[in-house]
Amino acid sequence: MSFFTPKTGSSAESVPKHTVDPRLQPWVEKYRPKTIDEVSAQEHTVAVLRKTLTSTNLPHMLFYGPPGTGKTSTILALARQLFGPDNFRNRVLELNASDERGISIVRDKIKNFARQTPRAQAVASDGKSYPCPPYKIIILDEADSMTQDAQGALRRIMETYARITRFCLVCNYVTRIIEPLASRCSKFRFTPLDSKSSFSRLSYIATAEHIDTNPAVINALISTSSGDLRRAITYLQSASRLSSSTIPPTPILPSDIQEIAGVVPDAVINKFSGILGVEKKTSFESINKEVKSLMREGYSATQILSQLHDVVILHPTLTGRQKSLCALVFAEADKALCDGADEELWILEAGLRIHKAVS
């Protein structure tokens, strides 16, 4: 064995103290993709980024898409593959919404980091060779929560130091990024995961964690999380915690997943929609009573609305006109709830108006 190649034994001792026991680590972190090839779905984006790995030339980038589609994972994996673990610290600056990101930080911290000439490449301790191109990467996670002013201040910085620093903005809503910034970046759209790739990733994790899951459970996970892989993984972990903590361990059931996800049971929703007169006529008093009891059960109003929406819109016998009237009600109620309106009043209001629309 060569003197310069590190021994495998020593790396375990030099692990910094703050690393988490892998058993307690959230699976979302544990199974974050290590290379961009591991990123589920997003073939188009990955294909483009793989090219940059070989040519080591990177544009400024803007990643956008719904939560849990792998935006942060992709850029972190890419940076890791470009620089390797040793250079990662001094070549990458990651800022997210938990850090103060006002205009003063852009002017001081980001600008200072951006203007530094990248340090010489440290010898990779794990024996692999990394491309380690001569620039640094600044990752601005959750960039849509940055203020307009702070974004404005970035404009010139991005251009001036483009030679030695590349920016990667990550956000959910591309419309909240000001136009001058967006036009400086090449945009990558991340689409919600299709159920096939979610399925394969979830079953991979399940086997790696030795949980015995049947396809029904994984399908329940996929349907409750609607394309958000992080949510699906968190639910899977919570479910396995609950099931393994009882003695003897009980198998995970699809209904457990629904309870963890805060989904209102179908029976409750069907009863409510029945009382609203989707099936037959009822009185004001019975609707009022049902709404009160729903609220006492503690279900969340937005969840009730979205599930009721599915019931009404997919209903086989209601006419198109009735469904359209209901759709209007749902839209208004959702807006009201977003504005912080009282939940009980608005569920009642939505219920009464649906009742009126369908009768």
Partner: protein
């Protein structure tokens, strides 16, 4: 001598009276060592807080009961001083960020980072992490919630967060997806009656079943209120027999009076009268939403079936406006006038559809 609510509050997960399944889950989670972030939600008085303290006790033992209250000073970016009260023990810390108003993001950032970056020093501690309890999490601003997102993942080894909220509607999806959701529904009438009887027995008297039923009916699933009412009734008539009258709070009878005024006569003079009453209520710090809801419910009881839906519709409509707008009284008045005109036109049978 403390209130019965506090005196007979269950201290351990085993002592909890209802939602057995939930207690079992909490117990097994707390002892497994692999404790997730949690979000407790449910109506008020259902026992969220009691469950949280019991879980903490299960996690850390008796040490969590040694509480101290600390006043911390935070400096806002514009150099304004914010004083926040923090309840803490060696193992957990409890904050109500809505105290900080617009600056809750700052408090969350500073406090959580400080806790997250320090490790538990007490070698005898059962767990390596500290717990941060955030009360009234549904009143956290969007910014503050966004600030929580990454912190919750990054510092998982040193800290767990327990959020306590009335509803999950106002929490952003990324937070919900990082927590284990725990729904705490209100107890059923039988469960409440059971608990009331237990409290009565421990206080040294027997609860007549009729009195118990009456209290349960009146409190609508709010356990805390039920026990408080029980104590108040006991003070009024020590033997708890005969016709019991549960005293309604003043504001509630006052609201009912307003509703009666609206229904009995519809004229500009009456609007002025109602307005004065609304002002009176507002100046006594009754939340405008509560006023609107109570009055509307009373009005609905008294009007014709075909009007009920409309009355509630406008109540919901003006309630949202009240949230967005700044002057509450305008919207209360607007609603009162709207209801009066609806009522009057219903009687004289005029078609109002053109005026909507």
């Amino acid at each position: 001598m403390s209130l019965w609510v506090d005196e007979y509050r269950p201290r351990t997960l085993d002592a909890l009276h209802y939602h057995r399944g939930l207690s079992e889950r909490l117990k097994s989670l707390a002892s497994s060592g692999d404790f997730p972030h949690m979000l407790f939600y449910g109506p008020s008085g259902a026992g969220k807080k009691t469950r949280i303290t019991c879980t903490l006790r299960q996690l850390f033992g008796n040490g969590v009961e040694k509480l101290k209250i600390d006043q911390r000073i935070f400096l806002s970016p514009s150099k304004r001083k914010l004083e926040i009260n923090i309840v803490q023990s060696n193992f957990h810390i409890e904050i109500t960020p809505s105290e900080a108003g617009n600056y809750d993001r700052l408090v969350i950032q500073e406090l959580l980072k400080e806790i997250a970056q320090t490790q538990q020093v007490d070698l005898n501690a059962k767990q390596r992490f500290k717990v941060v309890i955030i009360n009234e999490a549904d009143s956290l601003s969007r910014d503050a919630q966004a600030a929580l997102r990454r912190t919750m993942e990054k510092y998982m080894s040193n800290m767990r967060i327990i959020l306590c909220a009335n509803s999950t509607s106002k929490l952003i999806a990324p937070i919900k997806s990082r927590c284990l959701l725990m729904r705490v529904p209100a107890p059923s009438p039988e469960e409440m009656l059971n608990v009331l009887e237990l409290v009565a027995r421990r206080a040294g008297f027997d609860l007549p079943p009729e009195a118990g039923m009456k209290i349960v009916d009146d409190c609508g699933g709010n356990m805390r209120k039920a026990i408080l009412v029980l104590e108040a009734l006991k003070m009024q008539s020590p033997d708890l027999t005969g016709p019991l009258t549960i005293a309604k709070p003043d504001w509630e009878t006052y609201c009912h009076k307003v509703a009666d005024l609206i229904v009995s006569e519809q004229s500009p003079a009456r609007v002025m009268e109602v307005r004065a009453k609304f002002y009176e209520l507002l100046s006594h710090c009754i939340p405008p939403t509560v006023i609107l809801k109570t009055v509307a419910e009373r009005v609905v009881e008294k009007v014709d079936e075909s009007l009920k839906a409309d009355v509630m519709h406008w109540a919901a409509f003006y309630e949202v406006r009240m949230r967005i707008g700044s002057k509450k009284i305008f919207h209360l008045e607007a609603w009162a006038v709207k209801v009066m005109s609806l009522y009057k036109h219903f009687f004289y049978d005029i078609d109002m559809s053109a005026f909507d």
